[in-house]
Amino acid sequence: MGVDQPVVLVTGASRGIGRAIALAFAKAGYKVGVNYVGSTEKAQAVVAEIGAMGGQAVLLQGDIASASQVDGLMQQLMTAFGRIDVLVNNAGVTRDNLVMRLKEEDWQTVVDTNLKGAFLCSKAASKVMMKQRYGRIINISSVVGQMGNAGQANYAAAKAGLLGLTKSLARELASRNITVNAVAPGFIQTDMTDKLSDDAVAALTKGIPLNRLGQPEDVAQVVLFLASSAADYITGQTINVDGGMIMA
Protein backbone atom coordinates (compact mmCIF):
# COMPACT_ATOMS: atom_id res chain seq x y z
CA MET A 1 0.00 0.00 0.00
CA GLY A 2 3.02 2.22 -0.14
CA VAL A 3 2.78 3.88 3.26
CA ASP A 4 4.77 3.03 6.37
CA GLN A 5 1.90 3.53 8.73
CA PRO A 6 -1.47 2.75 7.18
CA VAL A 7 -4.63 4.16 8.73
CA VAL A 8 -7.63 2.18 10.01
CA LEU A 9 -11.00 3.44 11.19
CA VAL A 10 -12.82 1.11 13.57
CA THR A 11 -16.44 1.97 14.38
CA GLY A 12 -17.72 1.08 17.82
CA ALA A 13 -14.17 0.68 19.10
CA SER A 14 -14.66 1.48 22.78
CA ARG A 15 -15.33 -2.08 23.89
CA GLY A 16 -15.78 -5.72 22.98
CA ILE A 17 -14.76 -6.89 19.53
CA GLY A 18 -14.21 -3.33 18.25
CA ARG A 19 -11.77 -2.59 21.04
CA ALA A 20 -9.82 -5.78 20.34
CA ILE A 21 -9.70 -4.90 16.62
CA ALA A 22 -8.43 -1.36 17.34
CA LEU A 23 -5.70 -2.71 19.63
CA ALA A 24 -4.67 -5.45 17.17
CA PHE A 25 -4.27 -2.90 14.35
CA ALA A 26 -2.29 -0.56 16.61
CA LYS A 27 0.00 -3.45 17.53
CA ALA A 28 0.48 -4.15 13.82
CA GLY A 29 1.65 -0.55 13.27
CA TYR A 30 -1.52 1.09 12.00
CA LYS A 31 -2.70 4.57 13.00
CA VAL A 32 -6.16 4.06 14.47
CA GLY A 33 -9.36 6.10 14.36
CA VAL A 34 -11.31 5.04 17.46
CA ASN A 35 -14.99 5.77 16.87
CA TYR A 36 -17.56 5.56 19.66
CA VAL A 37 -20.92 7.10 20.39
CA GLY A 38 -21.55 7.04 24.15
CA SER A 39 -18.81 5.31 26.16
CA THR A 40 -16.39 8.25 26.29
CA GLU A 41 -14.23 6.93 29.13
CA LYS A 42 -13.85 3.49 27.61
CA ALA A 43 -12.96 4.98 24.23
CA GLN A 44 -10.42 7.28 25.86
CA ALA A 45 -8.93 4.23 27.58
CA VAL A 46 -8.48 2.52 24.20
CA VAL A 47 -6.70 5.59 22.79
CA ALA A 48 -4.52 5.76 25.93
CA GLU A 49 -3.66 2.07 25.64
CA ILE A 50 -2.60 2.53 22.02
CA GLY A 51 -0.51 5.54 23.04
CA ALA A 52 1.12 3.49 25.80
CA MET A 53 2.25 0.88 23.27
CA GLY A 54 3.84 3.65 21.18
CA GLY A 55 1.02 3.83 18.62
CA GLN A 56 -1.08 6.68 17.28
CA ALA A 57 -4.82 6.95 17.72
CA VAL A 58 -7.47 9.62 17.41
CA LEU A 59 -10.77 9.70 19.28
CA LEU A 60 -13.76 10.09 16.94
CA GLN A 61 -17.08 10.62 18.67
CA GLY A 62 -20.11 10.23 16.42
CA ASP A 63 -23.30 8.32 15.77
CA ILE A 64 -22.70 6.37 12.55
CA ALA A 65 -26.45 6.19 11.90
CA SER A 66 -26.27 9.91 11.06
CA ALA A 67 -24.84 10.90 7.66
CA SER A 68 -23.69 14.31 8.87
CA GLN A 69 -21.91 12.85 11.90
CA VAL A 70 -20.22 10.24 9.69
CA ASP A 71 -18.98 13.00 7.36
CA GLY A 72 -17.74 14.92 10.40
CA LEU A 73 -15.76 12.06 11.88
CA MET A 74 -14.33 11.13 8.48
CA GLN A 75 -13.11 14.71 8.13
CA GLN A 76 -11.53 14.57 11.57
CA LEU A 77 -9.75 11.36 10.59
CA MET A 78 -8.47 12.98 7.37
CA THR A 79 -7.25 16.01 9.29
CA ALA A 80 -5.43 13.79 11.78
CA PHE A 81 -3.94 11.15 9.48
CA GLY A 82 -4.57 12.25 5.85
CA ARG A 83 -5.79 8.91 4.47
CA ILE A 84 -7.85 5.82 5.22
CA ASP A 85 -6.55 2.39 4.22
CA VAL A 86 -8.94 0.20 6.17
CA LEU A 87 -12.51 0.67 7.38
CA VAL A 88 -13.87 -1.81 9.90
CA ASN A 89 -17.65 -1.52 10.21
CA ASN A 90 -18.01 -3.00 13.65
CA ALA A 91 -20.44 -0.78 15.58
CA GLY A 92 -23.55 -2.66 16.57
CA VAL A 93 -26.36 -2.58 19.08
CA THR A 94 -29.00 -5.06 20.19
CA ARG A 95 -32.65 -4.54 21.16
CA ASP A 96 -33.76 -8.14 21.63
CA ASN A 97 -37.37 -9.25 21.65
CA LEU A 98 -39.68 -11.69 19.97
CA VAL A 99 -41.07 -10.26 16.73
CA MET A 100 -44.56 -10.18 18.20
CA ARG A 101 -43.31 -7.94 20.99
CA LEU A 102 -40.65 -6.06 19.03
CA LYS A 103 -41.30 -2.33 18.93
CA GLU A 104 -40.93 -0.55 15.63
CA GLU A 105 -38.37 1.82 17.15
CA ASP A 106 -36.26 -1.12 18.38
CA TRP A 107 -36.29 -2.56 14.88
CA GLN A 108 -35.29 0.83 13.47
CA THR A 109 -32.50 1.54 15.97
CA VAL A 110 -30.80 -1.79 15.28
CA VAL A 111 -31.11 -1.54 11.48
CA ASP A 112 -29.98 2.12 11.51
CA THR A 113 -26.80 1.49 13.48
CA ASN A 114 -25.84 -2.00 12.35
CA LEU A 115 -26.71 -1.75 8.65
CA LYS A 116 -27.27 1.87 7.60
CA GLY A 117 -24.25 2.91 9.66
CA ALA A 118 -22.04 0.54 7.67
CA PHE A 119 -23.47 1.92 4.43
CA LEU A 120 -22.82 5.54 5.44
CA CYS A 121 -19.27 4.84 6.63
CA SER A 122 -18.49 2.78 3.51
CA LYS A 123 -19.83 5.55 1.29
CA ALA A 124 -17.68 8.19 2.96
CA ALA A 125 -14.55 6.03 3.10
CA SER A 126 -14.83 4.70 -0.45
CA LYS A 127 -14.59 8.23 -1.89
CA VAL A 128 -11.15 8.56 -0.34
CA MET A 129 -10.15 4.96 -1.11
CA MET A 130 -11.10 5.38 -4.77
CA LYS A 131 -8.68 8.30 -5.11
CA GLN A 132 -5.99 6.32 -3.32
CA ARG A 133 -6.62 3.34 -5.59
CA TYR A 134 -6.37 1.30 -2.41
CA GLY A 135 -8.71 0.30 0.35
CA ARG A 136 -9.97 -2.49 2.54
CA ILE A 137 -13.50 -2.55 3.96
CA ILE A 138 -14.34 -5.21 6.50
CA ASN A 139 -17.86 -5.62 7.83
CA ILE A 140 -18.45 -7.37 11.12
CA SER A 141 -21.53 -9.51 10.59
CA SER A 142 -22.63 -12.40 12.81
CA VAL A 143 -23.56 -16.08 12.64
CA VAL A 144 -26.99 -14.85 13.67
CA GLY A 145 -27.28 -13.22 10.24
CA GLN A 146 -26.70 -16.63 8.66
CA MET A 147 -28.77 -18.93 10.90
CA GLY A 148 -31.29 -16.56 12.51
CA ASN A 149 -31.96 -16.37 16.23
CA ALA A 150 -35.26 -16.29 18.10
CA GLY A 151 -35.54 -12.93 19.83
CA GLN A 152 -33.09 -11.20 17.50
CA ALA A 153 -34.99 -10.73 14.24
CA ASN A 154 -33.87 -7.10 14.01
CA TYR A 155 -30.22 -7.90 14.71
CA ALA A 156 -30.23 -10.95 12.43
CA ALA A 157 -31.84 -9.00 9.59
CA ALA A 158 -29.28 -6.20 9.89
CA LYS A 159 -26.36 -8.65 10.08
CA ALA A 160 -27.66 -10.60 7.07
CA GLY A 161 -28.10 -7.28 5.28
CA LEU A 162 -24.42 -6.57 5.87
CA LEU A 163 -23.54 -9.65 3.82
CA GLY A 164 -25.53 -8.31 0.84
CA LEU A 165 -23.85 -4.93 1.27
CA THR A 166 -20.45 -6.65 1.40
CA LYS A 167 -20.96 -8.52 -1.87
CA SER A 168 -22.45 -5.57 -3.77
CA LEU A 169 -19.79 -3.13 -2.63
CA ALA A 170 -17.08 -5.69 -3.42
CA ARG A 171 -18.34 -5.77 -7.02
CA GLU A 172 -18.63 -1.98 -7.27
CA LEU A 173 -15.15 -1.21 -6.00
CA ALA A 174 -13.04 -4.14 -7.19
CA SER A 175 -11.74 -2.23 -10.24
CA ARG A 176 -10.27 0.40 -7.90
CA ASN A 177 -8.24 -2.09 -5.88
CA ILE A 178 -10.63 -1.93 -2.94
CA THR A 179 -11.66 -5.23 -1.39
CA VAL A 180 -14.75 -5.68 0.75
CA ASN A 181 -15.19 -8.68 3.01
CA ALA A 182 -17.18 -9.73 6.04
CA VAL A 183 -16.32 -11.56 9.22
CA ALA A 184 -19.08 -13.47 10.97
CA PRO A 185 -18.28 -14.04 14.64
CA GLY A 186 -20.14 -16.71 16.57
CA PHE A 187 -20.54 -16.41 20.32
CA ILE A 188 -17.71 -14.21 21.51
CA GLN A 189 -17.19 -13.30 25.14
CA THR A 190 -18.16 -9.60 25.38
CA ASP A 191 -20.59 -7.37 27.28
CA MET A 192 -23.18 -8.47 24.72
CA THR A 193 -22.89 -12.16 25.65
CA ASP A 194 -22.15 -11.57 29.37
CA LYS A 195 -25.83 -10.63 29.69
CA LEU A 196 -26.77 -14.27 29.02
CA SER A 197 -27.50 -16.66 31.91
CA ASP A 198 -25.14 -19.57 32.68
CA ASP A 199 -27.78 -21.99 31.46
CA ALA A 200 -28.10 -20.12 28.19
CA VAL A 201 -24.32 -20.14 27.74
CA ALA A 202 -24.18 -23.89 28.49
CA ALA A 203 -26.92 -24.56 25.94
CA LEU A 204 -25.16 -22.41 23.34
CA THR A 205 -21.82 -24.09 23.92
CA LYS A 206 -23.37 -27.45 23.00
CA GLY A 207 -23.85 -26.11 19.48
CA ILE A 208 -20.21 -25.11 19.12
CA PRO A 209 -17.93 -27.94 17.91
CA LEU A 210 -14.90 -26.32 19.61
CA ASN A 211 -16.97 -26.37 22.80
CA ARG A 212 -16.23 -22.88 24.07
CA LEU A 213 -17.00 -19.21 23.44
CA GLY A 214 -14.54 -17.24 21.34
CA GLN A 215 -12.49 -14.25 22.46
CA PRO A 216 -12.59 -10.79 20.83
CA GLU A 217 -8.95 -11.32 19.80
CA ASP A 218 -9.95 -14.37 17.73
CA VAL A 219 -12.07 -12.04 15.58
CA ALA A 220 -9.48 -9.25 15.53
CA GLN A 221 -6.78 -11.50 14.05
CA VAL A 222 -8.99 -12.45 11.10
CA VAL A 223 -9.88 -8.80 10.47
CA LEU A 224 -6.17 -7.95 10.53
CA PHE A 225 -5.51 -10.75 8.03
CA LEU A 226 -8.22 -9.45 5.65
CA ALA A 227 -6.65 -5.98 5.82
CA SER A 228 -3.15 -7.32 5.11
CA SER A 229 -1.50 -7.83 1.72
CA ALA A 230 -1.81 -11.58 2.34
CA ALA A 231 -5.52 -11.16 1.56
CA ASP A 232 -5.13 -9.03 -1.60
CA TYR A 233 -6.95 -11.59 -3.77
CA ILE A 234 -9.93 -12.07 -1.43
CA THR A 235 -13.07 -9.97 -1.95
CA GLY A 236 -16.81 -10.36 -1.37
CA GLN A 237 -16.26 -13.19 1.10
CA THR A 238 -17.50 -13.98 4.58
CA ILE A 239 -15.15 -15.67 7.02
CA ASN A 240 -16.74 -17.28 10.05
CA VAL A 241 -14.98 -17.11 13.39
CA ASP A 242 -17.39 -19.25 15.32
CA GLY A 243 -15.72 -22.39 16.63
CA GLY A 244 -17.35 -24.39 13.85
CA MET A 245 -20.98 -23.45 14.53
CA ILE A 246 -21.68 -22.94 10.84
CA MET A 247 -19.97 -24.97 8.17
CA ALA A 248 -21.00 -23.79 4.73
Binding site: M130, K131, E172, L173, S175, R176
Partner: protein, 76 residues
Protein backbone atom coordinates in the same frame (compact mmCIF):
# COMPACT_ATOMS: atom_id res chain seq x y z
CA UNK B 1 -14.64 29.01 -21.76
CA UNK B 2 -11.69 27.44 -23.58
CA UNK B 3 -9.84 27.61 -20.28
CA UNK B 4 -12.54 25.51 -18.59
CA UNK B 5 -12.54 23.12 -21.55
CA UNK B 6 -8.76 22.64 -21.30
CA UNK B 7 -9.00 21.87 -17.58
CA UNK B 8 -11.91 19.45 -18.10
CA UNK B 9 -9.98 17.84 -20.94
CA UNK B 10 -6.93 17.31 -18.75
CA UNK B 11 -9.05 15.69 -16.04
CA UNK B 12 -10.86 13.45 -18.54
CA UNK B 13 -7.55 12.31 -20.06
CA UNK B 14 -6.17 11.58 -16.61
CA UNK B 15 -9.28 9.81 -15.25
CA UNK B 16 -10.31 7.83 -18.31
CA UNK B 17 -6.92 7.26 -19.88
CA UNK B 18 -8.10 8.44 -23.32
CA UNK B 19 -6.19 10.25 -26.08
CA UNK B 20 -6.34 14.06 -26.23
CA UNK B 21 -7.95 14.15 -29.69
CA UNK B 22 -10.86 11.98 -28.47
CA UNK B 23 -11.88 14.62 -25.94
CA UNK B 24 -14.09 16.94 -27.99
CA UNK B 25 -17.04 19.06 -26.86
CA UNK B 26 -19.57 16.71 -28.45
CA UNK B 27 -17.99 13.50 -27.14
CA UNK B 28 -20.15 11.66 -24.62
CA UNK B 29 -18.66 9.89 -21.63
CA UNK B 30 -20.14 6.72 -23.08
CA UNK B 31 -18.13 7.29 -26.29
CA UNK B 32 -15.06 7.54 -24.08
CA UNK B 33 -15.86 4.14 -22.56
CA UNK B 34 -16.54 5.52 -19.08
CA UNK B 35 -18.50 3.17 -16.84
CA UNK B 36 -20.76 4.43 -14.03
CA UNK B 37 -17.96 4.37 -11.46
CA UNK B 38 -15.66 6.29 -13.84
CA UNK B 39 -18.33 8.98 -14.14
CA UNK B 40 -18.72 9.23 -10.34
CA UNK B 41 -14.97 9.65 -10.08
CA UNK B 42 -14.90 12.19 -12.88
CA UNK B 43 -17.60 14.28 -11.19
CA UNK B 44 -15.64 14.16 -7.92
CA UNK B 45 -12.50 15.32 -9.74
CA UNK B 46 -14.38 18.18 -11.45
CA UNK B 47 -15.87 19.27 -8.11
CA UNK B 48 -12.40 19.42 -6.65
CA UNK B 49 -10.77 21.20 -9.61
CA UNK B 50 -13.43 23.91 -9.90
CA UNK B 51 -14.35 24.07 -6.23
CA UNK B 52 -18.05 23.49 -6.89
CA UNK B 53 -20.59 20.98 -5.71
CA UNK B 54 -22.46 19.03 -8.37
CA UNK B 55 -25.62 17.47 -6.87
CA UNK B 56 -26.41 13.93 -8.01
CA UNK B 57 -29.56 15.12 -9.87
CA UNK B 58 -27.42 17.48 -11.96
CA UNK B 59 -24.58 15.01 -12.42
CA UNK B 60 -27.01 12.51 -13.98
CA UNK B 61 -27.87 15.01 -16.72
CA UNK B 62 -24.27 15.63 -17.73
CA UNK B 63 -23.61 13.21 -20.56
CA UNK B 64 -21.05 14.95 -22.76
CA UNK B 65 -17.87 16.96 -22.36
CA UNK B 66 -19.74 20.03 -23.67
CA UNK B 67 -22.48 19.65 -21.06
CA UNK B 68 -19.85 19.38 -18.33
CA UNK B 69 -18.11 22.54 -19.56
CA UNK B 70 -21.43 24.45 -19.77
CA UNK B 71 -22.48 23.27 -16.31
CA UNK B 72 -19.22 24.44 -14.78
CA UNK B 73 -19.44 27.77 -16.60
CA UNK B 74 -22.95 28.38 -15.23
CA UNK B 75 -22.27 27.24 -11.67
CA UNK B 76 -18.79 28.45 -10.96
Amino acid sequence: MSDIFEKVKAIVIEQLGVEADEVRMEASFEDLNADSLDIVELVMALEEEFDIEIPDEDAEKIKTIGQAVDYIKQNK
